[in-house]
Symmetry: C2
């Protein structure tokens, strides 16, 4: 039975780090909401799970993954569960703990990215929080992007194996998430990030190395890769860029 991934069918969002891992691993999976016949059915197949009051172990939000009898939510938790099974985990226990640590830092960063355009509330339109979004984005660009980039580049610099990957000598799942961050920041903040990225050549080299992995390259060129848009985590509003 293939893995069943449940995530919104119209955005990369918080589900993309899992899609990237499943695709790079080349394993069989169903992107459940994308297999439905209408947008409404796509939404409902997720909402029906979230709103099922009889489930004893319900997710708080998508993404969630069904593997046989188990349902797992929270993107980093899903990657922790999957990574060994699909060959994207470091081989040793300290490496696995560190991979999860990086992934949780990426998770925090993605939440910050989301809040650049929704600093007041998820339940309000962007248009009703533009002024606050401008302030938050300016701070995000000046302080948070460089802090995260410096952190990830330092990990690359200090990998004792001197490989191009974050951990050890092989590609592991957090490498794919760093690719996603670079792609997302290039989309959301093209002016600001084109300056910033010059300072992080190892991160860009990692991004480039991921982009030419055969399975990932195939995925990125396919219709399965949903284009960035202004409904996801990374959104491009020129007024929030530099």
């Amino acid at each position: 039975m293939p893995y069943q991934l449940y995530y919104w069918s119209h955005v990369q969002g918080r589900g993309e780090v899992i899609r990237l891992a499943l695709e790079e691993a080349g394993v069989d999976y169903t992107d459940v909401a994308r297999e439905q016949n209408s947008e409404e059915e796509s939404r409902n197949v997720i909402l029906n799970v979230l709103q099922d009051k009889t489930l004893s172990r319900v997710p708080f939000a998508p993404p969630f993954l069904v593997d046989g009898g188990i349902m797992i939510a929270q993107a980093a938790n899903i990657l922790l569960y999957l990574s060994d099974k699909i060959g994207l985990a470091p081989p040793d226990e300290p490496g696995r703990i560190f991979a999860h640590q990086i992934q949780l830092t990426v998770t925090d960063f993605l939440m910050e990215v989301h809040d650049t355009h929704h600093p007041i509330s998820n339940a309000m339109y962007y248009e009703d929080q533009v002024e606050e979004a401008k302030k938050r984005s300016a701070n995000f660009i000046d302080n948070r992007i460089p802090k995260h980039m410096a952190y990830y580049q330092n990990i690359l610099n200090n990998n004792p194996t001197k490989s191009k990957w974050l951990i050890g000598e092989t590609l592991t799942y957090p490498d794919l998430s760093i690719f996603q961050i670079v792609e997302g920041l290039r989309y959301a903040f093209p002016n600001a990030f084109s300056e910033v990225e010059k300072h992080y050549p190892k991160i860009i080299a990692l991004r480039d190395a991921i982009s030419i992995q055969p399975n990932t390259a195939k995925y990125l060129a396919s219709k399965r890769r949903i284009p960035f848009n202004n409904m996801g985590v990374f959104r491009h509003y020129p007024e929030l860029d530099k």
Copy 2:
């Protein structure tokens, strides 16, 4: 060698869910920053690690834990690592995955709590983002607190064992984090939360059950429990309450 926890010495903050677990388990640990002779030394013992450019697996931020030769960051990752060793993990693998899933949802919630008083930037004073904080807090109180409370109460309602705990028949580490959320919301939003909490009797019963566990009760009455204050995650600003 006792576990060495590194977290700011003046706040509960993101480290408190770990302190609660170590205390409830009754295991030997050193709260490293609190063992120093001055505030400056307390800060430096953490900053020296974060700024050590030679470390190959450096934390992004505290809390982090040292256990012999391994250093682990991210609160939920630390709890995942510790919980089995200190007797606070569910006994079976699906239970462990679900415990981590709940803990990651708590982590997201704590980030949202922090952003009620810092919706624009961590690098700016609260006083320079009060107006935005008022808007964010009003939405947080109306939408986010009930959403999270309903989620945790639903887990309690649907625990197939009918125990008072989140998972199975025994106390596990996410139960302690729910206790911390209730205490924090009572401190930060006393007016708003005194109304809200009436709707979640099972969560309050869980909070009460935690508060009388012998080890936790001893901890809460000791000087090791740092009082809530306006430097942590949960802060009380009357203008942000109802």
